[in-house]
Symmetry: C2
Subunit: 436 residues, 2 copies
């Protein structure tokens, strides 16, 4: 029996999709690390009745901890603290030392704008320093304090952890919350789970369903594991969560998957293809990479440079959107373009060669395709992408055409993922199993 | 009194943050367009009891429509349809014509994998063709049908719209759902709201709070409007929703904002800065653009090529991550790099000039900065980015350095946004108001 939690994300701008919620997923990962089961994430607007309804529902579901995010600002429409105080049966009071600390933080924050309304600022500070009696205060990172609010004597329900909305305030405050007795007491029943991820590339989800059935028939006790499969683009993740005692069962499952899908299993240690490519490029002999992209418009370069330290192995990129740019910047012969068209294996190869030559890289990646919505033809439909990964001085070449589904953004993103897997394959060399 | 809706996003991989939910926000926007109030988005895992609890809660809250996403796959752990059928009091039955249609779609989808287990496929097809009696079937886009499931006679509660999880299946199916009598009946009480968005660049949120107070004092009846403000990167959105009769009140608010913040108000027609830049580049005389990027690593080029039709105005980009690439590809003089360092106004300008020259563009954008986490110094800290937007043959130049907060990904993304605003400013020319 493990501790259970729910999350209430508040904010009309989140519910209305003007802003994406980053806190729910982030807290979900932290709860998993902590060994607390997450039941549900509820997104509601700023209306007190809606926040209250969400709190009541989670309490009725019997969670041990409810975490709220947002609604802690200085303005009158931010009402999370008031609603939580009522739900927990605790009166509000002004905390004078807290008020002074917030006032100092506000002074710092508004120094850039000297003409702000002082009355409004002071009113806001008092509001943010008004907290439920008996709550544990988490020091503000911005100007809003967080709170750990246990139910008052005689009130049944979960402890409520109140956190601010901006991720850069919420995230440091999580660590502070974990250090409080009040929070530790709320989640005292937690179980330490292990979580392992297997990542496969290029097989359909139904194959994994079948593999799980066969594993069970072969005696792997899947009931001991919580297995989730998840497909994104052409990558399939098998996420398994289990109590430490079930370790051998997981190992048996992992071996079974390895045996059946060895060729397409590319990660069993949690690493992403991005991290693997970075690792392979920096291991000795270190190699550098450059791209020459058409339809992906720089997305592949952006993704290769996403990880810190990318400057050690990314030389740069040429985004050759116009045909002239393919010629002048990447050195693609005009005859090649005229004869085969921009979307062709010949041009993908020439782009890769050009990236190597112009950027002095060990490996070049050429990408050319039809991202859509326009520009497709019967012969070269929207979604057709040619990719070439090429080594310097003829040190290997992998070419591939794919027909990618989805809208413009999907085609661009998927092409980027395919290219990264091809680069990984090239870096591993011919000694390894071939992918399907 | 308007129709009200709730959304239940199902999926252990969404709840566990392995995959980001795109459907909740997308459906939120569609409901708003439709004039239906969204009460809450609930994210739960794949457990039937959790899905059921979420459905029951929304029913108890009195919504008219509940939309579920996900859990429609061919495997036995996808149980949304079963749970919804039970909640709505409708028995399940195999729909034979639907089964045949799904079987054909499955044949198409698996043609690439000839060795798949036939039994597993047929079992999956039968499962996906088993639907609640009396439900309206929405034709599969992938292999999963959607459903509109009204409550059976004698059952109280909302109509449930069942949609698949993959966005590229869900989105086209939404249009099909809207065309059904069953869905139209469920949301018959909708109110047509108007929504308008004002977008400002480069002022703090507290200033807008103050502006709203002043507007109210000046007689603008804000109680007639639902105003939400939302900050992301340096862009601030004021989203106002109102019944058509309150149109004049909104116009009064918009005028008030325009008067106080004319210099930083960049959009009052819903357009994003990306769309404005695209529009400005294609209006006569049409102009082309190219970028030479260091720390943004291709993100700016990727963003400029995001919109369909970008090939008309984007020539391409140079991602000059290595200093040598800055010289060989973008023509930045080595002395310049040695004298001023890579992160300097001089190099930003030289990159912009290089982009124009090498890619034969009318406008060049140079970006160079310290994205972090390493590479910062006292003089040039992490987050410092120099950007130059330059016109061909000396036709104007805007340079700017910014000190951007946040982690590596934030710095890269914010720098991209700043560059787009500078490009917009350049395209508007000196005739317009200057930004703060």
């Amino acid at each position: 029996m493990s501790a259970r939690a729910g999350i209430v994300v508040t904010g009309t701008e989140v519910l209305g999709a003007q802003i994406a919620d980053r806190n729910g997923p982030w807290l979900s990962e932290r709860l998993r690390e902590l060994g607390v089961d997450l039941e549900a994430i509820v997104v509601v607007g700023d209306r007190p009745t809606d926040i209250e309804a969400a709190l009541r529902w989670l309490a009725a579901e019997g969670v041990d901890l409810t975490i709220t995010t947002g609604g802690l600002g200085p303005t009158a429409d931010d009402l999370t603290v008031e609603v939580v105080a009522r739900a927990q049966g605790r009166p509000l009071r002004l905390d004078e030392p807290l008020r002074r600390r917030i006032a100092r933080a506000v002074e710092d924050a508004v120094r850039r704008w000297p003409r702000l309304d002082r009355d409004a600022l002071e009113q806001g500070t008092r509001k943010q320093a008004t907290v439920p009696k008996g709550a544990t205060i988490l020091e503000p990172v911005g100007t809003a304090p967080g709170l750990v609010v246990p139910p008052a004597d005689g009130v049944r329900g979960p402890t409520v952890l109140v956190l601010p909305g901006p991720p850069r305030e919420l995230q440091p405050m999580w660590a502070a919350a974990l250090a409080t007795d009040a929070l530790r007491w709320a989640v005292r029943e937690r179980t330490t789970y292990r979580q392992e991820i297997l990542r496969l590339y290029g097989i359909p989800e139904s194959e994994i369903a079948e593999t799980l059935r066969l594993a069970e028939r072969a005696g792997v006790e899947l009931a001991e594991l919580e297995v989730t499969t998840c497909m994104r683009s052409a990558e399939l993740e098998i996420v398994t969560r289990f109590e430490p005692a079930a370790g051998p069962v997981y190992e048996a499952l992992a071996s079974f998957v390895r045996e059946r899908h060895g060729g397409v299993l590319y990660s069993d240690d949690g690493s992403t293809v991005d991290e693997q490519v970075a690792r392979l490029l920096t291991r000795r002999p270190a190699r550098t990479v450059a791209t020459a992209e058409s339809c992906t418009g720089g997305l592949l370069a952006a993704r290769l440079t996403e990880l810190p330290g990318a400057s050690a192995y990314v030389r740069g990129a040429i985004v050759a959107y116009a045909n002239e740019a393919k010629t002048t910047l990447a050195g693609v012969e005009p005859e090649l373009l005229a004869r085969h068209g921009a979307v062709s294996v010949e041009v993908a190869r020439a782009l890769a060669d050009g990236a190597i030559e112009r950027l002095d890289a060990d490996l070049g990646i050429g990408v050319t395709g039809v991202a859509g919505p326009g520009g497709g033809s019967d012969e070269k439909p929207v979604g057709l992408v040619w990719i070439s990964v090429t080594g310097r001085d003829g040190a290997g070449r992998i070419d591939r055409s794919v027909r990618l589904p989805g809208a413009r953004a999907d085609v661009r993103e998927r092409a980027t993922t395919v290219a990264l897997h091809m680069l990984r394959r090239m870096l591993l060399g011919p000694g390894d199993d071939d992918e399907a």
